[in-house]
């Protein structure tokens, strides 16, 4: 059996660490065979899964077990890569940044500890998936709604910590974090915010605590292992009103952003509407070869024909209003008037009222069907996401859209992008869908990714999240004052984690002993 070891660690020491882990969690939950390792690798990787091979995985079931594992990891200098459920698909899944790191899989810690309907919050462990929490709320008839990302297989905690988002007014999941329990790299456990008071009556009510506020320091970071998370949930609204808007032409995304952004800022629209190219619906339901057999990116005229046949505009906007019927009606009128200045088509509204089945209500309902798009190319599909943040204006959006589309066409990949509008910025997720076995294509995709990072950086666009292969590249674009922020992060890293055992390389933050591993 091929041995994979962390840097600085001998086979003998590694085995002692694994034995130590087994003493804590039981042999059954220490996985170190070659087949086991492969189950934690980045399945959808664009040809570079071998750069991120875990040495083993360990699955604790309690915070005490996490603490014991962390102490052993310190003793033997064995690095750990915590994952909640390991479904960060498109960004590396469960795989660690640095080969040889042991995956600390928290999936067995899957208790829903508290749900409070009156105040609209839950307290959950990292192994709780979107489906689990949804089923719990449904079964117990709790009138709280979730915000769910496109692929809902993953962890609620993991998604919020990675700053993932959904599409209800509570869509920005990281914003809803209220109170964490964290195991620090030295094995000590702490609670943030008001949880720092042992008998606090408001841990999940008040975010900030007393003095510096730490919740965001444990997001996209390697400063601690989150073992419990408080999260605000949205009270079920009285009614919703959905608008499905088709924008006929590629450049319509510009005026649409200019019309919608002020309404989003003013609170006329409280959720984050997503403007996505309509090819996504065709790519989910059919395969490319049904429409086009040629090489290279789908030509514009072929795409136009496909969209026409499917009765779709170039872009589709899913927009939803939540609250009282009369208010929704009034807001819908304002939105329709804004669009009427630019297009003649009637915008259809879909209404939902409390008590009706929630299927078309705009409530967060978990599904995994978004994954269908990876079949677009045929073969064994994969995808990776490039996701910069831009100011929500037509000038920025059009520039970024045209540049990205041109870059995709240069390497023969079909453009697949969306702009999700928050109050002040838009998150531009660009998916690259490829055949994992087409090595010529995957190497072009990897090169494209670096080009897109550089292009975006030139315009002052930063990524909101990235794949494990590009964590250093993106970190280096934050270059103000000779990377002062990265230097602060690494100062903090060395203070909290002197042995460098927690998620080396995460978000470009390397512990002192492993800085030579930086890409």
């Amino acid at each position: 059996m091929r041995s994979i070891l962390p840097p600085r660690v001998t086979e003998h020491t590694f085995q002692r660490a694994l034995n130590g882990f087994a003493g804590v969690v039981g042999k059954e939950w220490v996985l170190a065979t070659e087949e086991d390792r492969e189950t934690f690798m980045d399945y959808y990787a664009a040809g570079d899964a071998d750069l991120h091979v875990p040495s083993a995985a360990v699955g604790p079931q309690s915070v005490e077990e996490v603490q014991a594992i962390v102490r052993i990891a310190n003793e033997y200098r064995v690095p750990l890569w915590p994952v909640s459920r390991g479904k960060n698909l498109g960004y590396g899944a469960a795989a660690p940044c640095m080969t040889g790191t042991v995956v600390l899989d928290l999936g067995r810690m899957n208790r829903i500890l508290d749900v409070n309907e009156r105040f609209g919050y839950c307290l959950i462990e990292p192994g709780v998936g979107f489906f689990d929490l949804f089923n719990h709320l449904q079964t117990n008839k709790i009138k709280l709604w979730m915000s769910i990302p496109a692929n809902a297989w993953g962890s609620v905690v993991g998604n919020a910590l990675e700053r993932g988002y959904g599409y209800t007014p509570y869509g920005e999941n990281t914003r809803n974090i209220c109170g964490l329990e964290v195991v620090l790299p030295n094995g000590e456990v702490l609670r943030t915010g008001n949880g720092a008071m042992s008998n606090s009556s408001s841990w999940q009510l008040f975010k900030y605590g007393y003095g510096p506020s730490w919740d965001q320091l444990f997001c996209q970071s390697n400063f601690g292992i989150v073992t419990k998370m408080g999260m605000w949930l949205m009270p079920e609204p009285e009614a919703t009103l959905g608008l499905n808007i088709q924008l006929p032409h590629p450049d319509d995304v510009g005026w649409a952003v200019d019309e919608l952004a002020p309404l989003r800022l003013k609170g006329v629209i409280e959720q984050s509407p997503s403007i996505g190219n309509s090819l996504r619906f065709v790519a989910s339901a059919t395969q490319r070869s049904q429409w086009y057999q040629g090489n290279g990116a789908l030509p514009d005229d072929v795409l136009a024909e496909i969209l026409k046949k499917n009765n779709l505009g170039w872009w589709t906007i899913n927009l939803r209003l939540y609250g009282y019927d009369e208010v929704n009606e009034a807001h819908a009128r304002i939105i329709k008037d804004a669009f009427a200045k630019h297009m003649k088509q009637e915008i259809q509204a879909v209404k939902w009222h409390r008590g009706e089945p929630i299927d078309n209500s705009g409530a967060g309902i978990p599904a995994t069907t978004a994954l269908q798009i990876i079949n677009w190319r045929g073969g064994r599909g994969g995808h990776i996401g490039f996701s910069p943040i831009l100011p929500a204006t037509s000038e920025h959006v059009l520039k970024q859209f045209h540049n990205t589309k041109k870059r995709y066409e240069e390497i023969g990949v079909d453009y697949y992008g969306s702009f999700t509008l928050f109050e002040r910025y838009t998150t531009n997720v660009n998916m690259m869908v490829y055949d994992r076995d087409d090595t010529a294509m995957t190497s072009k995709v990897r090169a494209l990714f670096k080009v897109l990072i550089a292009d975006a950086a030139k315009e002052g666009y930063s990524e909101y999240r990235t794949h494990i292969s590009y964590m250093d590249d993106v970190a280096l674009t934050f270059d103000f004052n000779h990377h002062a922020l990265l230097r602060l992060n690494e100062t903090l890293k060395d203070a909290l984690d002197p042995n460098g055992i927690l998620a080396p390389g995460k978000q470009g933050i390397w512990p002192r002993a492993l800085r030579t591993e930086r890409a």
Binding site: L31, E38, Y43, A57, G107, F134, N135, W153, T369, N375
Partner: protein, 145 residues
């Protein structure tokens, strides 16, 4: 095995008492066998039921009606072979291997999210005999949660 065979093999050495004892022994033996068979049937029914629950919990995200796995399988193998719960051509070893290594769009599942003993039950459920299917009135009525 039946009483006739036993009687002809072992003629009665002890007259009517012997016959009575032998008869009692036969009743006891038959009871034991019946209990053993019954237990096996209970065991396997229990395993199938456990496997069904686990399948819906662990695989139902994608493999019930309307799920992404069902859609992908329909595309690849046709609609009549797209619902795993209805398939009769699955083999337990194949189910277990594919779960661990993944196939096409389906990522592999590790032994923390689906431990071996759970996967064994899931495989038993997906390869259950026709007789167990007749009793299973709820099959294929599920939809992706």
């Amino acid at each position: 095995m039946n009483g006739k065979t036993l009687r002809s093999t072992y003629p009665a050495p002890l007259g009517w008492i012997g016959n009575l004892l032998r008869a009692l022994a036969l009743v006891a033996l038959n009871l034991l066998i019946a209990v053993a068979i019954g237990r096996t049937a209970d065991d396997s029914a229990q395993k199938i039921e456990g496997g069904k629950r686990l399948f819906r919990e662990r695989c139902g995200y994608c493999h019930l009606a309307g799920g992404t796995g069902t859609i992908m399988l329909a595309r690849r193998l046709g609609k009549d072979r797209s619902l795993l719960e209805e398939r009769r051509d699955l083999n337990a070893e194949y189910v277990k291997k594919i779960t661990r290594v993944g196939i096409n769009g389906m990522p592999p599942h590790n032994r923390i999210e689906v431990p071996d003993r759970e996967l064994d039950l899931i495989a038993i459920y997906l390869t259950r005999p026709v007789s167990a299917r007749a009793a299973d009135t709820t099959r294929s009525k599920g939809s992706a949660p």
